[in-house]
């Protein structure tokens, strides 16, 4: 791998290889500008319709001995209800939040999986506005629950755990305020967005790079292009794992924040 190779690549085909950039993610279908109807918007609507249709169709004649579709839906629902909601929030008042957590989980999971399913292949969560919208819902929820439980003043007082020496209380208070109001929503949204954005960009890079290597270049570079496609395959499998994981993590953290607001003592 020497600089000569890169030189030959650069002069082979006009401008050379254009690496994928963040601009590739903007794909307007109708109109243009801030009110364009873009591809992620259409995919999001499609995913909501798909989830609604599946959930209704698989539980229509709900039997005690479940059929295949009902079993799959019940498995997913049980996973969120038991594994996430009940274990984190506690068995006393977790039922109120199961619809929210289940909706978030299914929405993120289906939209993430759209990133690797061939006709669609666009992870809608890679546009930062959509994770931000989901985070806003969770953010308002856990603050509202906490304030409704103990009132506004006591909510802020409870941010500092009791039993601390009084000279450290202001520092802890500032730290906790920043955590509750800034860090948590920021990291929640950016974690989902960053994972989906980076994953999709990696896949784009390996696939377009592999295609470029195979179409322009000598025999060695063609083999490198085949290797690049193989890498893209491995990364797709890895990407599916990451998508499941990110949906799970988002829902888990949302449940933990809600549980933190519901806790009796800090």
């Amino acid at each position: 791998m020497s600089l000569n190779v890169l030189g030959s690549l650069a002069t082979a085909d006009g401008g050379g290889f254009q690496a994928p950039t963040a601009g590739e993610f903007y794909q307007p279908l109708l109109f243009d500008g801030p009110f364009a109807i873009t591809r992620p918007a259409v995919v999001l609507l499609l995913s909501v319709g798909l989830i609604a249709w599946w959930l209704i169709a698989s539980t229509k004649e709900a039997a005690i001995v479940p059929g295949k579709r009902q079993w799959v839906t019940e498995g997913a629902y049980g996973f969120v209800r038991n594994g996430i909601a009940r274990d984190i929030i506690g068995s006393k008042d977790f039922l109120r939040f199961v619809p929210l957590l289940f909706s978030i989980f299914m929405l993120i999971l289906v939209n993430n999986l759209f990133g690797v399913i061939p006709p669609v292949q666009y992870p809608t969560m890679s546009r930062v506005g959509i994770p931000v919208a989901l985070t806003l819902v969770v953010y308002v929820t856990y603050h509202y629950i906490g304030i409704k439980r103990v009132g506004l003043l006591a909510y802020f007082k409870n941010l500092v755990p009791p039993g601390l020496p009084s000279w450290i209380r202001p520092a802890i208070f500032v730290l906790e305020v920043i955590t509750f109001f800034v860090t948590r929503p920021l990291t929640l949204a950016l974690r989902l967005f960053g994972n989906m954005f980076a994953g999709h960009l990696l896949l784009l890079l390996f696939i377009t790079g592999g295609e470029y290597l195979m179409t322009t270049g000598g025999l060695g570079l063609k083999l490198a292009g085949a290797g690049s496609f193989g890498m893209a395959f491995l990364l797709t499998v890895f990407e599916i794992l990451i998508e499941f994981l990110q949906a799970y993590i988002f829902t888990l953290l949302a449940a933990m924040y809600i549980a933190g607001s519901l806790a009796d003592e800090h």
Partner: protein, 72 residues
């Protein structure tokens, strides 16, 4: 070849910022493996904590990657 280095400083920043999360994730999973080795029955309980810690530590690496692309 005139001896200049082209490219963006963003990538150096990303490379530096990936050191911390790399070490952190290694520590988290080392602790998980140790815990399961000492008491295999605790596997389920420790798994959710390990996954949570992994996601939190990886978030910082993801910030670095995203900002390396987005900031010019």
């Amino acid at each position: 070849m005139d001896g200049t280095i082209n490219g963006s400083l963003n990538l150096i920043g990303y490379g530096l910022s990936a050191i911390g999360p790399g070490v952190g994730i290694g520590l988290i999973f080392a602790a998980y493996i140790n815990g399961v080795a000492r008491q295999p029955e605790a596997r389920g309980m420790l798994q959710s904590i390990a996954i949570l810690g992994f996601a939190l530590a990886e978030a910082l690496a993801i910030f670095g990657l995203v900002l390396a692309f987005v900031l010019k």
